[in-house]
Symmetry: C2
């Protein structure tokens, strides 16, 4: 029963089973603040997005404002369900608001699971009632379990910092295992803090922290309809509100980036069927944007991911993936390292210790470093290997 | 012993085993014309390309000219091998030229297999000697087997047409199973015809025929370093040379497009681990370019390909893949059909016969049709399902 998202002052959580998941596992979570919190959200860039995403965007048109709670269910994404689905999302918020003694525009919602099915609203209603009734500080594991789908591990993180003489806590939990290639957001993550900060500044920090963390993860290049990242700040740490760009803001951003980075890497490591976490860094690109394009071309290459899964130092697939990308690549300047061992430099393979290379590939974490030697652009992305288990999970999932 | 590439007049072929493949299977092929043929090539757009590609581009700087023969080996791609690798490619051409009584600039070369290894030149030399010594019209199967790597099936096609009162034959063979996402070319294909046509017009026809065939196939979104498409025209059909745009040219283009389309679909159907051929058509896009982007987003989605493998009518993954693409998509206008059965229309799921839908997904060929209802752009791409066998093949391949 690890505590995480309720470690910052002012938060309570709950997770219950209300019968949406056929397995009977927990499937509805509520994270609530004792008072209205500053709130910021980032949502999927997919043009096909779930109705809960539509609802949240209407409640927080600029991506920030003040909210009391987040309600999340797993087992049904409430996406591709049209206007009726939108009403269901609004009803979820309304039901929770009534029980929490607030209004529906102070409650955010998210749903994850199968696309194209309506939510079972009677079950949802019973689940919300049970969850709100059991809100407390000892249920973070239950809340996290309730938002998981094919995830194997509970993914959470906590960081602390001191701002204006007060201890500020930042915490987060995340679900996400397949359909992972975020664009401005990730799967579903709830982040909490007790920092006092205005909603607009909170949003700015969230955008900045997501860039090198959640936006840098890919499992399978598929961007979900339901990606939503919530950040609630209770303001109960006792600090004087921090302004964007101030020293206090920068300390908060460091802690938030730390939490987001740990959660994002945990998502990659817990990718469907994954046995290894892979960090692909491209340096020396003409720009940071080209470095990202090149790094993600490698991280999304199924051939590369299969080779890492097999512990095979097949660096030709790394060179090939870089070369097919829209980023400028010159093989005559390219250098590739696997686990720190140079395998290719200036257009030709480097004699290297294949046994040592295989050992590097056997580890739980594999680092691939590519230097294009064309400029100063640099980017790191996280992914996982591709195993037969990914196929089994995704050929059998659903209906 | 099916005859195909030597059916057009003037061609001979051979395929031998010279010890490049560890399995001892055939690994070196020669396709030769009795006289200099008009020749056209298309090569990979990958920035990391094999040394044989560099050699062919130097021999035919504009992509066309006159050539006598093509020499191809499997088992080693001669890519990422630097200047020494380039000299090996040139030596291959030179050795074949000497035996064929021509000059090295009349011989094209291609290599496919593992990246980053030098060619075993003594074996190559012995192989070329044996192959040139056995050139004939009964060895097309041997030649095709010699260019295959993880391919399971021999992929070839023959078409006939009458031009200027003369029967013209067009034939082709292709290898390609993984690392398939062509850009202006495909794996390695050799096409032959006995049409009389100038090299520049031949090249124009090849570009046109490849667009809707080889360029429309994807197995795993990975573009090979070695993709090369060769077209040789012996001119021995007896027709008066056809000019680009003429009625004869158009008839030839129809036959050539037919052969290319059949070979390209055979590549998708024989994708690594494939059990089904999938045709994804996007209609109603704002432009043909956006239709291609949207169709390939679906065809490259591992989640979609897994669902088809499992016979699962999980159309949510089709909607999600369309939505993440750079093409404009409006879910409220979108319609999706699987095997002709409408599953989604105007933002909501359509009640449909799930049993019938599952039967459609059990077939060897699955058609997915998406109408964006935004314009007239249309594109069809071919791919295959993603199975655990793909992982096994690619986690174990190599070194």
């Amino acid at each position: 029963m690890t505590q995480h998202i309720t470690k910052p002052k002012g938060f309570r959580s709950a997770g219950v089973a209300c019968g949406i998941k056929q397995s009977g596992r927990k499937d509805l979570a509520v994270v609530a603040c004792t008072r209205d919190a500053a709130a910021a959200i980032l949502t999927t860039r997919n043009q096909v997005f779930g109705e809960p995403v539509r609802y949240c965007r209407r409640v927080l048109p600029g991506g920030f404002g003040r909210c009391r709670a987040v309600v999340i269910n797993a087992g049904c994404a409430n996406a591709c369900t049209g206007r009726a689905g939108y009403r269901d999302a609004a009803t979820m918020a309304h039901q929770a608001a009534r029980l929490l003694g607030t209004t529906a525009n102070k409650v955010l919602v998210a749903s994850t699971g199968v696309i194209g099915h309506r939510l079972p609203m009677a079950k949802i209603h019973a689940g919300i009632t049970a969850a709100v009734g059991s809100l407390g500080r000892g249920h973070d594991s239950a809340a996290l379990q309730a938002i998981m789908t094919t995830d194997l591990h509970e993914k959470y993180a906590v960081a602390r910092t001191v701002i204006g003489g007060k201890t500020v806590t930042v915490a987060g939990m995340v679900k996400g295992s397949g359909m992972i290639a975020p664009s401005l957001a990730t799967m579903i993550a709830v982040l909490t803090t007790d920092l006092a900060i205005a909603p607009a500044a909170l949003h700015k920090a969230l955008v900045a922290a997501a860039e090198g963390s959640f936006n840098a993860v890919t499992v399978d290049s598929d961007t979900s309809t339901s990606d939503t990242l919530f950040l609630l700040a209770s303001g109960q740490a006792g600090n004087r509100p921090v302004a964007a760009g101030s020293a206090g803001y920068r300390k908060f951003l460091t802690a938030l980036s730390d939490v987001c980075g740990r959660l994002a890497r945990a998502v990659a490591a817990d990718g469907e069927g994954a046995t290894k976490l892979i960090a692909v860094t491209v340096a020396g690109a003409r720009s940071a944007g080209e470095a990202e394009i090149a790094a993600k071309a490698v991280a999304n290459s199924p051939l590369f991911k299969c080779a890492v899964h097999g512990g095979d130092p097949n660096w030709g697939r790394i060179a090939t993936a870089l070369g097919k990308s829209a980023a400028k690549v010159d093989p005559a300047r390219l250098a590739i390292r696997i686990g720190g061992i140079v395998v290719f430099r200036r257009g030709v393979p480097t004699p290297c210790n294949v046994a040592a290379l295989r050992r590097k590939l056997m580890g739980k974490t594999v680092a691939v470093d590519c230097d294009l030697h064309l400029g100063k652009g640099r980017y790191t992305t996280w992914t996982c290997d591709l195993s037969a288990q990914y196929i089994h999970i995704n050929a059998d999932y659903h209906t």
